[in-house]
Symmetry: C3
Subunit: 441 residues, 3 copies
């Protein structure tokens, strides 16, 4: 029965072949012979897929160079998918999901890609230099071990040029790709917990109870009508200098909310979240200014000059998009958490209608951390003040810089001998100079 | 078919009309004309609701003043719902859910409500004063921006006088209101993670596998038989001076547990959680005493006197229910986390049968934070001690209070001249006084 | 109908009785008379169970001593279950789940168990000693209140000798025991969030969408074919000195992965996680070395000598498996979090294919905490250095150890009198000694 159905599908879709250079028959001959035994799961997923029905075979995606395939050089990137799925690829290319591809940002994460891309080194590097431009946003990535890059970074950032980050590799089950949990495999956790925020919000609760009809999921708002430009409707982060662009995206999002809410309610709600974003950014900025002051006062321990080199800026002090989380002072560590975790929870919590993320995971720890940072700054400055006072005290004439007290004691004895008249002023000066010279003071 | 059913319902419920002042026909005329086009979702929810079946129409809840409705003054508060749902409203009024309504606590969160409520300012304010009484538990709220109040506080605390916090606005699907996730939209997160605790406990697992029949959900224990007094059965937090009241609530809860467990097992389990509550409170108290000591020793930086004014207590030191989380010293920040996050996880984790919340989210960080607070206190005191020693040293006769050492040097030289006989004791005293006067010492 | 079915089952399974010493009839007579009324839930679960169908009755598990049962001495431990379920019990006994049983480790958690076990005190104690051997990994447990031991520790660690930790008490619904959430009641939270990691990974998402067929759950990998040796296939933590054993377990796990992935992909993925484990361990080791240095420099406040006694090591400094989380210095508190929380998130996140746990819950806070620990160490050392300099200054001949400056002033005056010739060197020495003696210096 299934075979009959499959045969029918194959037959019906014959006239479709050729569109994407299909070589269905040869693929069956060459690959399936082994892979039906060695990786039956993969083969079964493919046989249940829309690709199979349309006679899209192994070689259509992986190419016909079997040797390359076995050396893991036949990886299917987004551009390959785009040869058939052009509209989808174009939408993806406009979104932040593909940021690395378009701008060269994050290119090091995609080094294994096509020759074409390897040629485009000038996206990131000046000719003859191995050091990427500053705009390449991957300092955090470059500072990692290869293993952490693979397991911790690229598992998510591969979305830039790999469609199978969200879609399963050989199946084409759209219901799986549309599941909020699929977005959640990356959009979760301390840095951006959109999945958890939505899941615990009224939106998520209604979705779980009644499905997409009544409860909006990730794709309802961010991939409306199946668009793969997931950045549509997100006004936050767009340049303030382009208010028209911001307005356009906001209006788009309000139009989606209006499926269930009045546009007035939706616009007010999003405007409130805008305000929260600005207030939270101001708190982060206050922290940044303080950390920069501490840097100038030489109160970051270890100072940047004594840390391992930053992959982009060497021994320079870095605070901003390229900031690392390794080898920081406590002050910078607190700032990092504020900017990367608590700010994100506050802002994204507000936009995803989750009061607990907005407030208790966001605003409260953001302000607590600012308090802790100020407390640390005050503590560092008090300690520095004490040290300065002690240095000044010991630097007074009778108190050369000497922690052990030996030289100081010797000099005092000298002075007492001089005062008592046991040695002359000249002798005293000579002996004092000699004692200090011996200690290199 | 649906229309037939609806017609039948409308017909059958005709004799019910009048009970709540129903004006079904006019509402259809006046509101639906526009709203069926502008907000079809809302209208559809209403048409599927029990309200529709009983001919409860727009004006019954929102009033007939259309102008007011369009200015968002036709908000439906709990009292309005209570005109029909009297028993439910009365139960709600007895519970902590409506605390703000009954006591005036949190009234600022409900300022937009009825004129009746606005008249009741004396709940919170002395005549002629805009400053609320101390018992109004909203200092944290008052210290927030309007936007954070709306997105972060009132999204949950509106439960005080808004039934649609848990029930959907225009539908009446009880299965949705009874979902644990509905409670979870507020009862989650760092401050009280009851949803997560339950969800990951055996109770939650069995509920997910087999439903309410075998696995208790929030409403099984806290809204038994549909009661809206959600505080029934919660003995924790009741005054120790009223042991009878505590016993009564505990017995009620044990009677609910006894649906599945022996009453002996249930009582022992809850008594164990009582003990954990007391032990955890003692840890928080130890921390509080230490922070108060630090305050008296002037070791909180910034001191309360240098912070923005507390909305209730101005520049006074506040540690307790009205404590804010802004502009704290590190010591107070640690205390805040202990009291608001780790204590809550420990205690509520124990009562919700979640060992990981009890221990790893609760007890462990509670004790770690106490260690860190003590460590900070010791560090502050060591630094203060160093400073005092240095101050004493410089305050000794030959060491006037002078960080730069210049005056100190001058005075030493004076004394040496006096000792050598270059100047008299009287001259020395005069010159010393003059030098000190010049520096204002 | 149900009664007919039950009767039939009872009839059909008559020939099975005797295998496990079944006393079905008597149990029904003695226990059910009361318990059908007092605890109908329990009785119903049993009546729906495979035990009931096979005529396994109350006394078969609980024994026939009714008095003991009512005194809670008829607890059914794993050994009891093992009399019928021998293979399962043997597998459990080989796993880390039963570690406490096999080695005596954690025996204090099972003190209420059988007389047989009580006799085996020598597992943990030298004859005549109440102090457990060092290898018993329960210092954290011993330091807890009885209530926290019950609610926080034993709720999970009872898995050592209680099958009903995962299986419901009187029912035998395997689908419930196989639910990931059942494992998750313990394998969650800050110390080992395997449930959350899996749940949010692609594995979890596919499982939730399509069930076990396509998405692996806990039991797919860790209880393959129903084996109760949950430690099978886990190479991490096995002794480096036994590479064969490690290889054997790894090969077993790769064979399970190969149901869906190529064995090459699986092996590479797990090898990457191995590397991450080693890199993370190195970070924890760096922290440990630093804390040990601080201990030797007497920079842990409070020092171990001033803390309440460690249950195994008294006043000794403890850093490692027996480390407590109570009464620590800030440095040790940071180390505790690194080893117990962030290391675990990093490593277990990598093995459970969750990039956010690997990186943002793991690697990032692990490195941030190391930064904070180094920052604290630097701060402690700077403060110590200041104190030493001040001590040295005051310890110089004319500056006896005296914070108030009184003695110092007196000694200075004495020296000045001596220098001026008002008193002799001998008189000076005598008066100086007297002044110091009076102050006990």
């Amino acid at each position: 029965m299934l075979r009959l159905y499959v045969s029918l599908m194959v037959f019906c879709s014959l006239y479709l072949s050729g569109v994407c250079g299909i070589s269905f028959a040869s693929a069956e001959d060459v690959c399936l012979g082994c892979h039906e035994k060695k990786t039956p799961g993969i083969v079964n997923h493919w046989k249940e897929s829309a690709h199979f029905k349309k006679q899209v075979g192994c070689a259509d995606c992986h190419g016909s160079d079997i040797e390359a395939g076995h050396k893991r050089e036949a990886v299917v990137d987004a551009a390959k998918c785009g040869t058939c799925h052009k509209k989808t690829f174009d939408e993806h290319s406009l979104s932040r999901h593909s940021k690395g591809l378009r701008t060269g940002q994050g290119c090091t994460r995609n080094m294994a890609a096509t020759d074409e891309q390897k040629k485009s080194c000038s996206f990131c590097h000046a000719p003859g230099s191995t050091k990427p431009f500053d705009e390449t946003e991957c300092a955090m990535f470059l500072a990692q071990s290869k293993d952490m890059q693979a397991h911790g970074c690229s598992s998510c950032h591969r979305v830039e040029d790999r469609c199978d980050t969200c879609h399963t590799k050989h199946g084409t089950d759209l219901s799986l790709a549309r599941m909020p949990g699929t977005c959640g495999t990356c959009h979760m956790g301390p840095d951006h917990a959109q999945y958890e925020m939505w899941d615990a919000s009224s939106h998520g609760v209604i979705f779980r109870a009644r499905g997409e009809k009544d409860g909006p999921s990730c794709v309802t708002c961010h991939m409306n009508r199946g668009s793969h430009n997931v950045s549509r409707g997100i006004a936050t982060g767009l340049p303030e200098a382009l208010p028209e662009m911001k307005k356009q995206e906001r209006d788009y999002m309000v139009s989606i909310c209006s499926g269930c809410h009045t546009s007035g309610f939706s616009a007010r709600n999003l405007a409130g979240a805008d305000n929260i974003e600005q207030q939270s950014r101001k708190i982060v900025e206050e922290a940044r200014v303080l950390v920069e002051e501490l840097y100038r006062e030489d109160l970051l321990f270890p100072p940047p000059s004594e840390r391992p080199s930053h992959p982009l800026f060497g021994k320079k002090f870095v605070i901003g998009p390229h900031m690392l989380y390794e080898n920081l002072s406590l002050s910078e560590s607190l700032f990092f958490r504020m900017k990367q975790f608590y700010y994100m929870n506050t802002v994204k919590g507000a936009f995803h209608q989750n009061p607990d993320y907005t407030h208790w995971y966001g605003n409260a720890p953001l302000k607590l951390a600012l308090s802790e940072l100020k407390s640390e700054a005050a503590s560092l400055r008090r300690a520095r003040n004490l040290k300065d006072r002690l240095d000044n005290l010991l630097l007074a004439p009778e108190s050369p810089r000497d922690d052990t007290g030996d030289v100081r004691k010797a000099l005092r004895e000298l002075r007492e001998r001089m005062l008592r008249g046991a040695i002359s002023g000249k002798e005293y000066d000579d002996l004092k100079k000699k004692a200090l010279d011996e200690k290199g003071l």
